[in-house]
Amino acid sequence: MEAITEVKYALDTFYFLVTGALVMWMAAGFAMLEAGLVRAKNTTEILTKNIALYAIACIMYMLIGYGIMYPGDAAVNSWWPGLHGILGSDDNTAQAVLASGGDIYYSNLSDFFFQVVFCATAMSVVSGAVAERMKLWAFLAFAVVLTGFIYPMQGYWKWGGGFLDQLGFLDFAGSGVVHLTGGAAALAGVLLLGARKGKYGPKGEINPIPGANMPMATLGTFILWLGWFGFNGGSELIVSNVAEANAVAMVFVNTNAAAAGGVVAAMITARLMFGKTDLTMALNGALAGLVAITAEPLTPTPLLATIVGAIGGILVVFSIVSMDKFKIDDPVGAISVHGVVGMWGLIAVTLSNPDATLTAQLTGLVTILLWVFIASLIVWLILKAVMGIRVTEEEEYEGLDLTDCGLEAYPEFTGSKGSGI
């Protein structure tokens, strides 16, 4: 019996770590998606941003974020978790695990690892929306605050056992906690930043700025789709008995189904609206389906999951078109995919989970939206006053690859010395 308990502990810890590693891989998905949907002259900068924000998230979450989000019994009250310092190296002893009778079933550090990659995901959402015009270091400064404080605070309110959790608000893997958070922070940034030069004409015309690399955007979407099995599948938190293993399988199937529903619905919607089959909308549709099912991937039937994803896919197309009408310039559609569809995901929980109430879901939705939007707006405003958040018009024209990084992603005509020509 003791051996079985230990093996179960090992298996659940292993499952946590592997699904966490899958979520980490979503950082690659975001990097490729964003690099594909910006212009060639901003590719190096967006890639730099993506790897830097991931690293910053890991460090900030270790230093203070994790302590804020999961204070356990040390929480001050259900609103304010208190500050609890740096992640230590303590973990469960074999005696404690055996004595717990199965209540302790995974390593503390595997929990940290699983949580830190979620924090990074929320930040990844922001980078695409502010692409092609934000100063690199202003963005990274924002990443410090979002991953160290803004994200962990609302994370505590739900997953850390704070007031939203006590209220009965349900968010399985983070349609709200992760995706709406990223979307709301991005919206605040984009509103202060303004649109890319030339995106909107003086007479209200919308000028498309086509992305440079569709294969890369498609690869990024597939990587995110793969990573999402870790995102939702891992959020079941346990796999080591028949019921839980079945639940994990259900989550995988539903996650996949919702993404598929999102693609088909977004493609058809775009075809009907524009007369052409828009690949970027199909890609956004896949992500919309995934975001939509994230709040509740366990209780729906696969058919319902497909429908939830499909509604996300339809929503995202209308949202992207409407954002442009309001002159909210989001090069990759992150605010629509993660923010707007994240809200739909939270509401969709009520379709299949009998424990969900619309009141609790809406309370959670509004709380996360307001907290993240207002806190982010304040941080962006401070950054704007202190260091500026937007590059100059000339730098924007030149491309951030050269002005921020001094390196082009696709150097073409560099002369014969050292170029290998």
Partner: protein, 112 residues
């Protein structure tokens, strides 16, 4: 000597190259270019917004030829590049003052 500069549809490049080889042209220079003529541009669509592409991709072929070969070259390019649809391109002919083969220093028609 003449310099024949032809703007053609990119997918016709191989046909034109073969036609020129057949009449004994020894070398050509090809450049990817963009422009518009009577064909104008065309409309594309990205994320729900239409935009006009004013400049279409074309290929420019430069051929330096001796005067006696000129008519054949024009004929070969015209036939090989023609689809009959708008946007087939144009052929321009310039007088060529001098030509020098860098390797040997030959000049004039010998360098072609």
């Amino acid at each position: 000597m003449k310099l024949v500069s032809a703007i053609i549809k990119p997918f016709k490049l191989d046909d034109v190259r073969e036609a020129l080889s057949e009449i004994g042209v020894q070398g050509i220079t090809v450049t990817e270019v963009k422009g518009f003529g009577r064909q104008k541009g065309h409309t594309e669509l990205y994320r729900g917004a239409e935009y006009v592409v004013d400049f279409l991709p074309k290929v420019k072929i430069d051929v330096a030829v001796s005067d006696d070969l000129l008519d054949q070259v024009i004929d070969a390019i015209s036939k090989a590049a023609q689809t009959g649809k708008i946007g087939d391109g144009k052929i321009f002919v310039f007088s060529l003052e001098q030509a020098i083969r860098i390797r040997t220093g030959e000049s004039g028609a010998d360098a072609l």
